[in-house]
């Protein structure tokens, strides 16, 4: 990084290294070093009552994998992440398509409607679902009023509530990822398919979906990662008995004060996310490229 070659003649003593140094040092000292320490601590031992003892052991990782309770939390988190991502793709795609083909004020309004919730915070949006899902909430009021329901539904503190909550959190990200690629697909391509006799369904399946695949992959990856790391939504909508990986890391480090195990859980979370998204990419890539031949 220190060896810089300017691409223009310039007598300045400023080099790229000096320019980038403050930000790089900040990120290195503030993130890379703490992460390295966290990794080192995940190999330490936790003895109840004694806090943490220096060691070089994998027992925290082994304990996580061996204990059905923790394995269950990881499995549950992965399952929810997969389900949420699938729902986001199905629900998000048509909206992204409408958005990509819209124009003018309607489009600006639609974008604001999708981006605003993104910034309002997960807790506030969870509050919205708490209002919807309560025993006297909107869902039961409308459902009972229209005669769809015979008795009030108990949705709060169920996996369903968490899934709907996280879908709402992830959808804006997914829609925006889809929209970017959909906007790049020329209308004339669709028209050509129509003129050659393809119906809307065939055009979507054979033309639009393959072309939009990069955006679908990036949106799906984002949704999966966001769900794996979710914190506020599962805590507020799932209640105390419904645990996902994010809240687990928090409680191990801050409440149980079991740093080695919390650290190990952190790295298991990141590793699982990395491995699963990579596998997902490979599968989609293989299917996609073989489908073209």
């Amino acid at each position: 990084m220190t060896r810089t070659t300017f691409d223009r003649e310039n007598g300045s003593v400023l080099s790229a290294a000096t320019l980038a140094a403050p930000a790089t040092l900040l990120v290195a000292a503030g993130l890379v070093v703490p992460l390295a320490i966290l990794l080192r601590y995940s190999l330490n031992q936790f003895i109840p009552g004694q806090f943490m003892t220096e060691a070089l052991t994998l027992e925290n990782y082994v304990r996580f994998v061996a204990d059905p309770y923790f394995r269950g939390i990881l499995g549950q988190t992965i399952g929810i992440a997969a389900l949420v991502t699938a729902i986001c793709i199905v629900i998000g795609f048509p909206l992204a398509y409408v958005l990509a083909r819209a124009g003018g004020r309607f489009k600006s309004l639609l974008i604001l409607a999708i981006v605003l919730p993104l910034f309002v915070g997960n807790a506030v949006r969870a509050a919205g679902w708490m209002i919807a899902f309560g025993t006297n909430g909107v869902v039961n009021y409308v459902g009972l009023g229209l005669g769809i329901l015979n008795q009030p539904l108990e949705i709060m503190y169920t996996p369903t509530a968490v899934i709907i909550g996280i879908v709402a959190v992830n959808l804006p990200f997914v829609i925006l990822s889809f929209q970017t690629v959909l906007e790049g697909i020329s209308r004339s391509v669709e028209e050509a398919a129509f003129n050659l006799g393809a119906g809307p369904l065939a055009t979507t399946r054979r033309i639009i979906l393959p072309l939009a695949m990069p955006g679908i992959i990036s949106g799906a990856t984002l949704s999966f990662i966001l769900t794996m790391n979710a914190y506020a939504t599962p805590v507020l909508l799932g209640g105390p008995s419904f645990v996902m990986m994010g809240p687990l890391v928090y409680s191990q480090v801050m409440t149980q004060m079991n740093w080695p195990f919390g650290a190990a859980a952190s790295f298991i979370l990141m590793l699982a996310t990395l491995v699963l998204t990579t596998i997902g990419h490979l599968i989609v890539q293989r299917r996609y490229s073989s489908g073209r031949n």
Partner: protein, 265 residues
Amino acid sequence: MSGRVLLRAFAAPGLTIVLLPIVLVSWLAFFSQEIPSFPPEGHSLRWFSAAFSERKFASGFLLSAEIAALSTAIGLAVSIPAAIALQRFRFRGRGTLGSILLFPLVIPGVVLGAALYIFEVQAEKTTDLPLIGSYAGLVIGHVLIVIPWCIKLLGVSLSGLDRGIEEAAMNLGAKPWTTFRRILLPGIRPGLVAASLFGFVVSFGNLEMTLFLVGPGQSTLPIAIMQYLEWKVDPTIAAVSVVQIVLIGAALLLTDRYVSLSRVV
């Protein structure tokens, strides 16, 4: 055309799920009764004064705004030169540098928080400086999450700026600093505005990492909201949310005037 209607019908669930929670929270803020049961008995504005008089929200709001402003300022100050280095210089390790600066974006909030908290505890043990739950610790954490957004947005802006103008200025004898101040900085103004607003909003809304970094008795607005909601949901918290929604909506509309929102996120 029926195809169009059908398409919009398929698009409707997505929009409903995205907007419904915001709409419900906003509605609840105007309920006259305290319990969030439907239908409302009537409507009232009194929860807004209740929200403003609740000390925890007011102080949380101030702390969040302060931290967000400070960390955005620091984040911008270090990101502007870094973004210039990434966009205007070719050097070995440029790609690596770019990914290091975007790194905070890919680390889960809870892991980032846990790592910083444990680091602070250890650093305090070795140096005797009061770091745990400190203001400085909070700001450093927030600077970390602001930097990637600044790098991204300034990068977009810089890459769209014609290099020829800078070269012309230099050829006419302008020193690098003058070129930076008179040509580059005005040129990337939209990017600067977007990066400031984005950095501010990202820092202001951060919950997961901040949970690990706040000291006892201290809380930012998102933490105050989260803790309140773990206890109950009522029109007071809804009123707090509405104030936040309105402020963020205004910030986004402002950003949209400089950089199209769809290009940013």
